[in-house]
């Protein structure tokens, strides 16, 4: 019997016996009334009137057309953009800048080419003692299935492997929230499906809150507890669609297609052609 036959709650119960202690999940309370950028042709409002609450341990996917401000939104959650009107709180604490309680995976893997896979994963752990650090690195490399590549350099890895190392690096700081910006966009369809399964497994094992940005509607329906549909100019939330399908989800089932259709309709309704 494979793990995916278990319900999430059962998996989580089993996980509590594993080496890593269960972490505190982060609850996000997001209000962004306006985010502007200084464009070439004057100031540009990129995000407007966004308000969203993410439950601890929830898996939220954000979909929306190109340029509607998804990356900007995620960067605000990461603390990389701090100039905006509004307030973003993680567990009642206002986010003022980057912190280890939020792990970030960018669209590109952004691994440091001069460090081995192991040292890349350990990058944020310089304050930990050396046995603690190597324990964590081993744990997260096991989790993404790359233990045997720990001594390799990033230029020897495939795109999917690099992205998994980036996920391990983001998880190594034991974040309460994992933020992913189109992490699988550059992968081929087969690898992408495999990575999605792996991400679900990691999410279930690590019990973090996840916010994932994607272009891929199927990916969102497959992964999310809730789908946030964004529309452009200025970027704002159009609709929140819950996905009440049990996992593992069957991509070809009628319910799955139904939700996919609904998300697509929602997106198309706000696209000016």
């Amino acid at each position: 019997m494979s793990r995916s036959d278990l319900s999430i709650d059962e998996v989580r119960k089993n996980q509590s016996t594993s080496r890593e202690p269960p972490r505190k999940c982060g609850a996000l309370d997001i209000v962004i009334s306006r985010k502007m950028f200084a464009g070439v042709e004057g100031p540009l409002t990129v995000l407007r009137d966004i308000s969203l609450t993410v439950q601890p341990g929830e898996f939220v996917c954000i979909v929306g057309g190109s340029g509607c401000g998804k990356t900007t939104f995620l960067r605000i959650l990461a603390g990389l953009e701090t100039e905006y009107e509004g307030c973003v709180r993680l567990d009642e604490q206002q986010i003022a800048g980057p912190d280890l309680n939020r792990g970030v995976v960018f669209q590109e893997h952004r691994l440091l080419p001069w460090l081995t896979v192991r040292d890349n994963v350990a990058f944020g752990l310089s304050r930990a003692s050396s046995p603690e650090r190597s324990g964590k690195v081993q744990h997260y490399l096991d989790l993404v299935g790359l233990r045997s590549f720990e001594r390799e350099y990033p230029d020897r890895l495939s795109g999917g492997m690099s992205q998994r190392v980036a996920i391990a690096r983001a998880l190594a700081g034991c974040p309460e929230v994992l933020l992913l910006d189109e992490p699988f966009a550059s992968l081929d369809a087969l690898t992408r499906i495999r990575m999605q399964e792996e991400l679900l497994r990691i999410w279930q094992a690590e019990q973090t809150t996840v916010v994932l940005v994607t272009h891929d509607i199927e990916e969102a329906v497959y992964l999310a507890d809730r789908i946030v549909v964004m529309s452009p100019q200025p970027g704002t939330i159009r609709n929140l669609l819950p996905v009440d399908l049990p996992r593992p989800r069957e991509r070809t089932s009628t319910e799955f297609s139904g939700i996919r259709r609904a998300v697509l309709d929602e997106l198309l309704a706000h696209t000016v052609v």
Partner: protein, 280 residues
């Protein structure tokens, strides 16, 4: 677990198997070796022809002595200990001048690369100074510092400074901002940022700068010693010219070549070591 384990059995694992890799490396190595042998054919041929022509007195011996005569001259000077004194003096000058110049270049390059204000302040000045042929400074250095060591060191330092400065400054300005953002994400202090991201990122180009700085240090030591010195390989050359002994001049050229090549090789080896897997 089963899905995860299956995921690891992927095609790229097979590609990384050791056997075919080492075979490829072997082939490459043999190819390089024969390349190197090819490179020796012409110089060795020239030496042999030169030797024969000199022996047959086709070439006047006071004009172009045979290679064996040059070798013997060097050997005899080495036996009396004179040679080592001159070589030592020249190497010391290059070492001190290079250290001073590279240090100044590193400081200026680092400063202008890190702070854009410093770049706006210093870069135009340094760029225009760079376009002055450095030999043009000689009279001024002689006036300020006299004919002693310090004017020579100053000239060599100036030669080494610019390539180090330029390479470091440019490399620092072009560190991938996406990697800098990773450092920001992990809340690195400015010092940690330099140590853990900027320095490793600029290292390859910095080493290139150091290597060309060292090359220029050797060029400038020749200039400095030809312009007035009582010791050093350059002095040997002048001495050979004064006393009309071509063997000494040619021997000195050979010594310069050997010394320059050796230090460059050492620098290269150190750089390769520092760069680790990135050196290829």
């Amino acid at each position: 677990m089963s899905t995860a384990e299956q995921n690891h059995r992927l095609p790229w694992k097979a590609a990384a198997a050791p056997a075919p890799k080492s075979r490829v490396r072997m082939k490459k190595w043999r190819f390089h070796l024969s390349d190197r042998l090819l490179g020796w054919i012409i110089p060795l041929g020239i030496l042999v022809v030169w030797e024969i022509l000199a022996r047959l007195a086709v070439l006047p011996p006071n004009w172009l002595p045979a290679p064996t005569v040059i070798a013997r001259t060097i050997y005899e000077m080495g036996a009396t200990g004179d040679l080592w004194k001159h070589v030592g003096v020249t190497i010391t000058r290059v070492a001190v001048g290079f250290l001073v110049g590279a240090t100044a270049g590193t400081l200026l390059g680092g400063l202008t690369g890190y702070f854009s204000v410093a770049r706006k302040l210093f870069d135009p000045l340094l760029q225009s100074l760079r376009s002055v042929p450095s030999i043009a400074w000689v009279p001024l250095f002689l006036l300020w510092l006299g004919i002693q060591e310090s004017s020579k060191i100053a000239l060599i330092s100036l030669g080494a400074l610019f390539p180090v400065y330029l390479n470091l400054s440019v490399a620092m300005r072009h560190v991938d901002p996406k990697l800098l953002e990773v450092g920001k994400l992990y809340r690195l202090s400015s010092f940690e940022m330099v140590r853990r991201i900027i320095f490793p990122a600029v290292l390859p180009q910095y080493i290139v700068g150091l290597r060309s700085g060292l090359g220029l240090a050797w060029m400038f030591v020749v200039a400095a010693e030809l312009l007035g010195a009582s010791s050093g390989i350059g002095y040997l050359m002048i001495d050979g010219q004064m006393t009309g002994r071509a063997a000494i001049i040619l021997g000195s050229v050979l010594l310069f070549a050997i010394c320059g090549k050796t230090t460059d090789w050492m620098m290269n080896a150190a750089g390769t070591r520092l760069l680790g897997h990135r050196a290829r």
